[in-house]
Symmetry: C4
Subunit: 214 residues, 4 copies
C-alpha cells in the first residue's frame, strides 16, 4: 500500500516536539495541583492536626505515583515515536483530560477518609479514575503500535515492555480493588497504594543494584 | 522588494523555540486550572452530590476540548512556521490571554446551571469567550500566511487545512448558539458541547480507521 | 586575558536550554494564576455582578501585558545568549521571583478598586512591583552585555534594542505614576495600563502593516 | 564487564529530553504556587495589613530560594547526563514529590509565625522538608556518578562541584537549625533564610565581579 505509506511520510514529524512540551506541562501542573488541597483543620494541637491529616498525605502520594507512573510510560512512548497522527494527538488529549481530573477525586478521598459514610462513593470514583488512566495509557501505546508510529529502533523499549507486562496485573488489581472498595473503602485505599508502588517500581533494576556486589 | 526579504531573513529564527515552550506552558496550565473549580456541595448523600455536579463536569469537558482544540491548531501552526515577527508574538499573547481567561466563565457557567436566573448572562459570556478564541486562532493563522511566516514545505498542513475548513461552520455555530443562549441557556451549553466535539473530531481519520478492513 | 576567555569557553553552553524551559514554565504559570482570582460577588443581578468586576479585569489585563512583555524581552534575550554563567542564572531567578509575586498585588488592587481607602497602599505596592520587573529585566540584559554572554550574531536584536530604547521612558513613566498613585490611585491604574500597552506595542511593525499599501 | 556496558549503551538516550521538560514544569509550578497563599488579613489599615504579613514574605522567599537552588543543581546535573536509567527517573520523581510538597509547610509556617504555640511543630516540619530536598538532590547526583550516567566531558561541572562542596555544611546547618527550632522557632526561620542564601549564592563569581577592576 504505497499510497498509505506516502501519507504516512507526509505526516511524519507532525507534532512530535510539541506533544512532549504540552504533555509535560499538563503532567507537571496536575502533579503539583495535588498539593494545593493539602490542609490541616482544627481541633487539636498543631501536631495532632498535622498527624490527623494522614489520609490527605496518603491520597496525595498515591495520586503522585499514578501521575508519575503515567508520565514514565508517556515519556518512554513518545521517545519511540517516529511521528504522530491526528487520532494519536486526540487520544493523548483524552489521557491528559483524565490525568488532570485526578486531583478532584483525590481531594474527595482525602476529605472522606474521616467520614466513613461518604467514603465508599469517593473511593469508587477514585479507583475508576486510576483505572481509566491506566487503560488510556495502554490505548495510546496500542494505537501507536497498530499504526506503526514507532521508530523501528530496538533501543530503549525496556520501559515500554515493562509497562505492557504490568498492564494486565494492574488492571486486574484495579478491578478487584474497586469491588473491595464497595465494602471496605479504607482497605481499598491501602491497596491502591500497593498497586501504585507495584506499577512504578523497577524491580529488575533494584535487584540488579542490590545484588551487584555478591 | 529585496530589502523587505532581507529584513525577513534577519528576523528568521526569532522566538521560534520559545513561542512553543511558553505557549505550551500557558495552554497546559489553563487546561489544568479548569479542574481546580470542580467541587461538590451539600445537601444530599455523597452519590447525589457527585451526580448533582454534572454541569461542572460538562462545562469542564467543553472548555477542555476547546483549549485542547486551540492547542492542536497552535501546534500545527507553529510547526509550519519558518520564523516569527513582533506582531505575530503579540497576536499569540492575545490568544493566550483569552485562553487563560476561559476557566473564569467556565466556573460561572458551572455554578449557574442550577440557577436559571443567572444562567443567561454567564452562558452568553462563555459563548463569546469560545468565539473569540476561535477568531484569534484563525487570525494567527491568517497573519502567518499574509506575512509569509510559514515554511514553503508541503508536509503536515492537513491539520491546518482541516481547521480552516471548519472555521466558518464553527463561527456560524457559535453565533447562532450565542443567540439561542439568550433564550435557552441550558440548550446552548449542550450545543457548545456539540461544536467542541465537531471542531476537535478528525472525521476523516476515524472513518479511515473504521472502514479500513472493508 | 586568555585565561578568562578560556574559562568562558568552559562555561559555554551551561544551562542554556534549561533556562528557557524553566523560565517559560514560571512565566506561563504566573500569567495563568492571574485568572484564578477573578471572581464576582453579590449584590446585584448576574449582569451587574459581571460588570461590577471591571477593576479585576483591568488589573488582570495590565499584569498579563506586563508579564507578557517581560517574556518577550526574556525570549529575545535568551535567543541571543551564547552561554550563561552562575550570576546570570541567579539574576534570572530574581526576575522570576518578582514575576511570580505580581499576581499578589494584582489581586489586592483588583479588590481595592472599590475601596478607595485601601487603594493608595495597594496601588503603590503594585507600581513598585511593575517597576522592579522592568529594572530586573534590564539588569539581565545589561549583565549579559557586560559579561559578553551574547553571541556576536547581528540578527534578531531588534526586539532587544526596542526594549532598551523604551527602558528609560518606561522607568520614568513608572516613577511618575507611583507618585501620582499616592494621590489619585484610580488614575494611576489607568496610567499603568497605558505604560503596559506602550511597552508591549510594536509601533514600527504596526505602522509598516498599516502603511504598506500606500 | 562488556555486557553491562552494552546494556548501558542500549539505554543511552532514554528520557534525557523529557526529564528536563517535565522537571522544569514541576519546579516552575511549585515555585509559583508559593504565591497563591500570600494573603493579608484584618485588622489594621491597609498598610499595617501588608506589613503584618512579613512572615509570609519571608517563608515565601526562603522556599523560592530553596526550590530555585534545587533547580540550579538539577539543571547542572541533567546537563552533564549522557543517559538516564529507570532508577534515576524514579529518584527524580521522588525529588519532585518533595519539591511539590514544600508549598504546604511553607504555608503553615507563614500562618504560624504569629501564633507561637503552633510555630514549633510547623517550623520543624518545614526544616525537615528543606533537609530532604537537599538530601535527594545529593542522592540524584551520587547515583548518577555511581552508575556512570554523566558524560565524560570536563566542561560545566563547576556548579555541580560547588553544590557538592556545599552539601555537608548545608546538611549540618539544617540539622542544627531543626534542633534550634524546637526551642526558638522564629530564630530557626531566620537561620533557614541564611542557609538558603548560602546555598544559592555564587561567592566566587561575585568576588570575581567585585574585584575585577582592582
Amino acid at each position: 500500500m504505497p499510497a498509505d505509506r506516502d501519507m504516512g511520510r507526509r505526516r511524519r514529524s507532525r507534532g512530535k516536539g510539541r506533544i512532549d512540551g504540552f504533555s509535560d506541562g499538563v503532567f507537571g501542573v496536575a502533579i503539583t495541583l495535588l498539593v494545593v488541597d493539602l490542609a490541616i483543620h482544627p481541633p487539636g494541637t498543631a501536631l495532632q492536626q498535622v498527624l490527623h491529616a494522614w489520609p490527605a498525605y496518603l491520597a496525595y502520594t498515591i495520586s503522585f505515583l499514578t501521575i508519575g507512573g503515567a508520565w514514565l510510560l508517556h515519556n518512554a512512548l513518545t521517545e519511540q515515536l517516529a511521528r504522530t497522527d491526528p487520532v494519536f494527538l486526540r487520544l493523548n488529549l483524552l489521557l491528559l483530560l483524565v490525568v488532570v481530573f485526578l486531583p478532584f477525586p483525590t481531594r474527595l478521598v482525602a476529605e472522606a477518609l474521616h467520614n466513613p459514610a461518604d467514603e465508599r462513593v469517593f473511593v469508587t470514583m477514585y479507583g475508576l479514575t486510576l483505572l481509566v488512566i491506566r487503560l488510556l495509557g495502554f490505548a495510546l501505546d496500542a494505537y501507536a503500535r497498530y499504526e506503526h508510529l514507532y521508530a523501528p529502533a530496538e533501543e530503549g523499549e525496556e520501559e515500554l515492555r515493562t509497562s505492557q507486562r504490568k498492564f494486565l496485573p494492574g488492571v486486574i488489581g484495579y478491578v478487584i480493588t474497586i469491588i473491595i472498595g464497595l465494602f471496605l473503602p479504607t482497605a481499598a485505599v491501602a491497596l491502591y497504594f500497593g498497586i501504585a508502588v507495584y506499577l512504578v517500581m523497577p524491580f529488575r533494576d533494584v535487584a540488579r543494584l542490590v545484588f551487584r556486589g555478591s
